[in-house]
């Protein structure tokens, strides 16, 4: 029963990882940009929520109404002012600029908030749980997290399939040059893609902050978990990313069940195994390749 419990907890944890990973995957799909500051930006959202909760007294969930638009705006501006300028310089310049940004964000947060661990408090919900059998207990918070992840993915999929913006994003993803020829303003479109990416990672960051404590040095870990979910799931596939997140989550909780010290390591090892055996990931979208 302990093992079943570990698997169920991992499955729910996968929802959080999928939430963190979606934006990384989307931005890569649309503009072949691998944002190394993605994890630090998610963490920034958690700290912004912390400040809002501290100053206004509203709850962490309500703070999303402010945090998400703020992060979306930041994403649009970041893309238009800085990241679009790296698009011409190829992979090298975008990797170096986003890595520089990660260093700036991590140390900026450290300067403002010190190295202490913080948490976002949602009161009794944090411990509220659902008794399924006498040995299997599922927390409401992880359930809500997974549910939110699914809602985000469904909304993104509908947006990509049904809307004008979705068509433009898919066109840019298939062939950026051709999309520009038929009149799509890439710079604006890339800004919107980054806005959506930071909106989703902001939700992930706040849920992470509710689930566990967080500190300025945690950004790289978030980036790595998001990245592993994307690679395990396969590039360019939203639902693959959810499955990738769940596989990562289950690997971690099962590894942690063996020995708490193996939790993170088990996730990395499953990622490396998939890299060796099936480098395109489990559910790759045809035609999407690593830049």
């Amino acid at each position: 029963m302990e093992w079943l419990n570990a698997i169920v907890q991992g499955l729910l944890l996968g929802g959080l990882y999928a939430m963190l990973a979606t934006g990384l995957s989307l931005v890569f799909g649309v503009m072949r940009l691998v944002n190394l500051a993605h994890g630090d930006l998610g963490l920034l959202a958690a700290f912004v929520a912390l400040v809002i909760v501290g100053t206004t007294g509203i709850g962490p969930f309500a703070s999303l109404l402010i945090v998400v638009p703020l992060m979306m705006g930041l994403g649009y501006v970041l893309q238009r002012v800085i990241l679009n300028r790296t698009m011409e310089g190829g992979v090298l310049s975008s990797v170096l600029v986003t890595f520089g940004l990660a260093v700036v964000l991590q140390n900026g947060l450290l300067t403002i908030f010190t190295a202490d661990s913080r948490g976002l408090d949602v009161g009794s919900l944090e411990t509220a749980s659902l008794q399924i059998t006498d040995r299997l207990i599922v927390g409401w918070l992880p359930l809500i997290t997974l549910g939110t992840a699914v809602v985000i993915l469904v909304a993104l999929q509908l947006m990509l399939d049904r809307t004008q913006l979705g068509r433009a994003l898919r066109a840019a993803s298939d062939d950026g040059e051709a999309a520009r020829i038929v009149g799509i303003d890439n710079r604006h479109l890339f800004g919107l893609a980054m806005a959506i990416a930071l909106g989703t990672v902001a939700i992930g960051g706040v849920f992470l902050g509710i689930r566990t404590t967080f500190a300025p040095a945690d950004g790289p870990a978030l980036l790595i978990f998001a990245y592993e979910a994307v690679i395990i799931g396969g590039l360019g596939s939203l639902w693959g990313t959810l499955v990738g997140g769940i596989i990562l989550g289950v690997s971690q909780t099962v590894g942690g069940q063996i020995n708490p010290a193996y939790q993170i390591l088990a996730g990395h090892l499953v990622f490396l195994a998939i890299l060796l055996l099936r480098p395109e990931g489990l559910f790759p979208r045809p035609g999407v390749r690593q830049a």
């Binding site: 700036v104 900026g108 690679i231």
Partner: protein
């Protein structure tokens, strides 16, 4: 027909050396003599600082080979700093070797480890390669943190170095650091001017065209990855000769790569002169600003972003834009042997 007057086969030869490169070699030799004799006239503090300067310069040169010449942006070279540090401990304290044989034995081990990690990392490309190498470094850290013989999470102190007389240890470490610093420049220059270097630049500029011309793309990249990783491990081992105390979080910390990237980017990516200029700037800034801690790192990050966007060839790029020169004879040019001929065409 005027064209018939021009001889079709002009006599020429391929040259690499230039007056500047010969002057560089002489100045380099003079600097080497100056640094090598420094223990006789300099202070211990200067020697300790120079150990840091030269080992970080060597790591940066190796990172530049990877990113600047092979287009492989690794955020995981700290894996090999850690391999150097723990290899040193393994062969000195557990294997009972003296420092130089221990570093040589470690380098053999690091070659094997670099080949093995390349099997994973080379499945990834571009930005995903960058994060993948980072994950591999994290795996190294987490595994070492579990191994009791390597001190697990708390780390180890290299006892056989503690037993050495401090002045002897400092002198040895210092000379080895000079060796890796100057050695890294020589290795980088040799790699870049070799057949491998030409293949590298072809691959960096276009993998498809390079492959169509018969360049083995993956083999070329793997070769550079191994050279750069083993070079980084050797520099890491020399750095830890001075530090003595090895902790997994520090030895496998991403800060090593942050410093390598900063030195290369600010000095000039894809030029051998770049990391030299970058290392001078980095240590000058560190002397002045290191007290500001994390605010200093914020500044380093901002400078990196600004340089990539505004001056992608770094400070050395800005210098050569005003006055074209190459300190190292790594480019090939045609030299026409008859004085009446037009200016020699440049070919790289």
């Amino acid at each position: 027909m005027t064209t018939a007057a021009v001889p079709l086969a002009r006599s020429f030869r391929v040259e690499r050396g230039t007056t500047t490169s010969r002057i560089t070699a002489l100045v380099g030799l003079a600097l080497l003599v100056m640094f090598a004799t420094l223990p006789a006239w300099g202070s211990g503090g200067t020697m300790k600082l120079l150990v840091e300067v030269f080992t970080l310069l060597a790591m940066a040169q190796m990172w530049n080979l990877l990113a600047g010449y092979a287009g492989l942006v690794s955020i995981g070279q700290q894996a090999f700093v850690g391999v150097g540090a723990y290899g040193l401990y393994l062969f000195m304290d557990l294997g009972d070797l003296s420092p130089v044989p221990a570093i040589a034995a470690m380098a053999v081990g690091a070659t094997v480890i670099a080949l093995l990690t390349s099997l994973f990392a080379f499945r990834l490309r571009g930005g995903y390669f960058a994060i993948g190498t980072w994950v591999i470094a994290e795996v190294f850290r987490l595994v070492v943190s579990q191994v009791g013989a390597l001190g697990a999470g708390t780390g180890v102190t290299i006892q056989s170095l503690v037993a050495m007389a401090p002045p002897d240890r400092l002198a040895l470490t210092y000379w080895l650091a000079i060796g890796v610093g100057f050695g890294s420049i020589v290795v980088a220059a040799l790699v870049v001017r070799s057949r491998l270097g030409l293949a590298l630049r072809a691959v960096r500029d276009s993998e498809v065209s390079a492959a169509s011309l018969g360049v083995g793309v993956t083999a070329t990249k793997r070769m550079v990855y191994v050279i750069a990783s083993v070079g980084c491990a050797i520099a890491g081992a020399v750095y830890y000769l001075q530090l003595l105390r090895i902790q997994p979080t520090a030895a496998f910390g991403v800060d090593w790569t942050v410093v390598m990237i900063f030195i290369v980017v600010i000095g000039g990516l894809g030029r051998i002169e770049g990391p030299i200029v970058g290392a001078i700037v980095f240590f000058a800034l560190q002397e002045v600003l290191a007290d500001y801690g994390s605010a200093y790192l914020v500044a380093l990050g901002l400078v990196t972003i600004a340089i990539v966007l505004l001056a992608p060839r770094g400070l050395w790029g800005l210098i050569v834009a005003r006055r074209p020169m190459a300190l190292f004879a790594v480019e090939r040019r045609l030299a026409f042997t008859r004085a009446a001929d037009p200016d020699p065409m440049e070919a790289s």
